[in-house]
Subunit: 146 residues, 4 copies
């Protein structure tokens, strides 16, 4: 049941949210460009900025949003002090949020990415149990994506 939900394709909502960010020195590596692992943090920062724009926080009282998948395709390098725009889109399953990302530098596509998280609740034994995304959370995020 859980696995079926995980594998089902979730289409993204029509709207998008934009997060701007400057590349910092410690994000580069000896090749002189941003290390590939940092793109995932850029995507996560954009995700959390979307949540704030929706009046929410990913760190809440009783819900958790563990990652299920993360994916990136690298088109062009990023360099120190580049200003980037991370475009976020999102789609909603019953228990899972699917994010799609486009990272641009001056209107040039630098990378695309995708991540998904499930909505989970802490049980009394400390284990996380997948649960349905609250309607309020979904509605607020969709509104912020307009």
């Amino acid at each position: 049941m859980k696995d079926q939900e995980h594998r089902r394709v979730i289409s993204l909502s029509p709207g998008a949210f934009h997060y701007r960010r400057r590349v910092q020195f410690a994000e580069t590596d000896l090749a002189g460009i941003v290390h590939f692992s940092w793109y995932f943090r850029y995507m996560e920062e954009a995700e959390h900025a979307l949540w704030r724009a929706a009046g929410l926080s990913i760190v809440g009282d009783d819900l958790h949003w563990p990652r299920v998948t993360a994916h990136a395709e690298y088109k062009r390098p990023l360099r120190f002090e580049d200003e980037i725009d991370v475009k976020v889109r999102a789609g909603f399953g019953r228990t899972r949020i699917q994010y799609g990302f486009e990272i641009q530098r001056e209107h040039t596509l630098v990378a695309i990415g995708a991540m998904s998280s499930v909505c989970a609740r802490s049980e009394r034994d400390g284990q996380l149990k997948t649960t349905a995304i609250p309607a309020d959370v979904r509605e607020r995020l969709i509104t912020a994506l307009r």
Copy 2:
């Protein structure tokens, strides 16, 4: 041409290489578990350990190996001081290496991942140009994967 090569499925060679590693404190986040971006660094560390076992270094004189794709699927959380085993496999196209990873903790599968890199050479103008993987590099890696 380049795009066709990028999209072609590359099957992995039969052998595997294992890299062992302990989870460090700074790799955890406020959820009490390893941040999802760190799994990509674990995979990269394993890749580079494979290269060393092959008598090679990813940082060489004139060849570069920029990432093209990175992917991870998270099955279970990792915690501070966990000992992990990263199993690396690799497959070789003309210009691209495809890696496959399995991260285990005490024989339990924690995550699977995949990354691909292209072989590139610096041109006089500083641009990187995709080039064929040297036969020597491929042979040494395949030997180390036994």
Copy 3:
């Protein structure tokens, strides 16, 4: 000679520069607070923002600015989504820049820090050689610190 310069106390110029920044998820650790190593990156980001405000970049053609010392004293924890203000001051020796930092969250002092870097030039053999800070760089930074 070099060591004497390194040990001489450099007094800070009167002005200050402010850099604002939000704490991101990947900067926290399992204790639920920002990992202590991140404060050094906050300080470095503020340093580089100061250089940009001065019309400069720490990554230039022929000068390098390797770190000599870094120091932090932690007063209070920082948490996910906190907004911080990093106040930078700077003082100038012949070859060395001394920075002083105060990190605040809502007018509460969270940490103080200090870092110093020397001005160095690449020699033909690839070695770095300490050199005098160009007057133009010092003047621009002092102006941006007003």
Copy 4:
């Protein structure tokens, strides 16, 4: 009272513990060398390895060890795939542990550092309260430093 304890100089115990580690790719920056912030993580990894050697974990049931100070002096650069040796020493106040570090690459001193942490206990209101270091913890660490 707390401040006096924080400022009192704590002399280091005679023994030392050694932690070995290889420099990884993501730890380098565009200058081609290890980013200065990583030295603090090398020191912390060595600290936690010392605790494990003492049969302890820094992450325990009810005690916490927040950082009070961190300091580093950089002597020489570190590069990708360098093997380093982090020598740890420690001294004990009533509530505070003082660590001293030397980072070497092939018997060449690369950096020295120092960090201190206080022993703290969670109160019912979630606040941390400084408390005396348990005698058992001190004894085990001193034994592991032999």
